[in-house]
Symmetry: C2
Subunit: 308 residues, 2 copies
């Protein structure tokens, strides 16, 4: 079976939304990606770093989901990366209140030997130099490398970011970031411009407005499932990335047709993530719940029109 | 064959977008609705009012598309309703620069005798008292009455608006208006609240982010076709409404399943409207173009996932 290698931050998050407030809870790209991908019962490994303050029980929970945590460095005497943010009333935007890089500042990723030949690689949001450092350790060219990034790196490390963008097959990015990176307002034109930078596939995430997959002249769209309540959007994009790569790892098929399905699974899983604070909802997600919501997804989007 | 009765404004619009500027061109809800619905080769009639300054050639063009214009009153010595607006750079919002109600101020709609028994009635955006006035002239209960309205009437004539909302089967409204009308931020909750006001079906238009159809616990979503360029969004919502009601008139089937198809046709037709200023694109739209884009629509949204 194919293997999924995940690199990304592990964090303590303190989150405030219109519905409530958390103390430090576990967050960061890697746990969301890993938990989401684990719904496909695939072998995966996380490469990341935490401080001595990080709860080992959480790592055990990941291990129970078949996620190899041997690539998660625990820095003695170090403190885990901390982020605190407050969402605005519409949940579509947020302010960062505090960032403490802590052990992430000097993170030197080490890929476990068993995963140096992983077929699918998910480069979660991190400094592009760390993402490049992971690619350099691989002993076999992966079938697919997927990159997630954000505007912060466009502003602070564009040159490095463009280097890693040139090396990946798929980039996932939100609509505003796609516009910033490409200088194009139209998402169709933005995707085309980004394809020229390297990735053959461009996924543009529009949050509550769904996600678009571009490849040459082909476009596929999946909406976000309309929910009665969105409780905490943190990690939805990472959960999406985990669902996307998890499904592709499971099916071992990277055609555009199969990527469409991956986008649907990704959107479906992301719809659960936002229902509770942090990773809580994703830790206890049941197969039946996922299947039931996939059925809703089909009803939401599928129609029959005969063309003459 | 079923018939479609359309009521709505006819206007001169002066439009400024980031791409250009028009002098007075024909606009208003009714021409967009009528032209869009005419793609289904159905008998329809427009009830509206213009001034003596209105070009008769335009009415002839409508007649050539099987649109009965005998219900369009031409007020001697009167001036046609005038609206002028300027779109912001993202085309998602606009400022009204000038509004001259002119003949619309005293508009007293008269439904042609042949259309007093129309099966489908499309109440385009107008003062709710005018919309009610049309319903009162019908001699036979229509199979379906669809209402389009906007925040302007919520602010200035809410009581009358609620009266007409209580009498219709379907309401089409944009996302911000749905939130304003219902007091709910979640569109799922907003739709449920609006259903309680009367309409059994609620269509929430999200512009470039697509449209949602709600009915009890059922939800259907159709995206807007991603376009390289949106030139002028004026009339897209009316074109959508015309496609929706035109298809339902043609098929004479008002089940939820058929309404899904109507939403797809509506979104598809709206994607043409925005490609040129005013009604120009809709005046010369060819059947082959519509069919080709429907195929793109299927490719954009349809996927195959087997549920186990």
């Amino acid at each position: 079976m194919s293997k999924l290698l995940i690199v990304g931050s592990i964090a303590f998050d303190a989150i405030e939304t219109p519905f409530g407030k958390t103390n430090k809870i576990v967050g960061g790209a890697a746990p969301y990606i890993g938990l989401s991908a684990s719904n496909f019962n695939i072998p995966s490994a996380i490469v990341s770093v935490v401080g001595e303050d990080f709860p080992l029980e959480y790592l055990n929970k990941l291990e129970e989901k078949n996620i190899d945590t041997s690539g998660i460095e625990i820095v003695k005497g170090g403190k885990t990366f901390f982020w605190s943010g407050k969402y605005h009333n519409d949940l579509n935007s947020r302010d960062t209140l505090e960032t403490q890089l802590n052990v992430l500042a000097d993170f030197n990723p080490i890929v476990p030997n068993d995963y140096k030949d992983a077929e699918i690689v998910m480069l979660g949001n991190l400094h592009p130099i760390v993402q490049l450092g992971v690619l350099e350790q691989l002993t076999k060219k992966p079938k697919l490398v997927v990159l997630d990034t954000m505007n912060f790196w466009m502003d602070s490390a564009l040159e490095d970011l463009l280097k890693v963008i040139a090396k990946v097959d798929v980039i996932t990015i939100n609509d505003e970031e796609a516009r910033q990176l490409s200088g194009e307002y139209s998402l169709v034109k933005a995707a085309r411009a980004i394809e020229k930078m390297g990735p053959k596939y461009v996924v543009i995430k529009k949050g509550e407005h769904g996600a678009l997959l571009f490849h040459n002249e082909q476009i596929f769209f999946a909406p976000a499932l309309p929910l009665e309540e969105v409780f905490d959007p943190t990690g939805a994009g990472d959960t999406f990335a985990g669902g996307f790569t998890g499904f592709l790892t499971k099916t071992d098929d990277i055609t555009f047709e199969n990527m469409k399905k991956a986008i649907v699974h990704a959107s479906n899983l992301a719809s659960f993530c936002v229902e509770k604070f942090g990773t809580e909802r994703m830790e206890n997600l049941k197969r039946e719940e996922v299947q039931k919501r996939l059925q809703q997804f089909k009803e939401l989007t599928q129609f029959e029109i005969e063309l003459s």
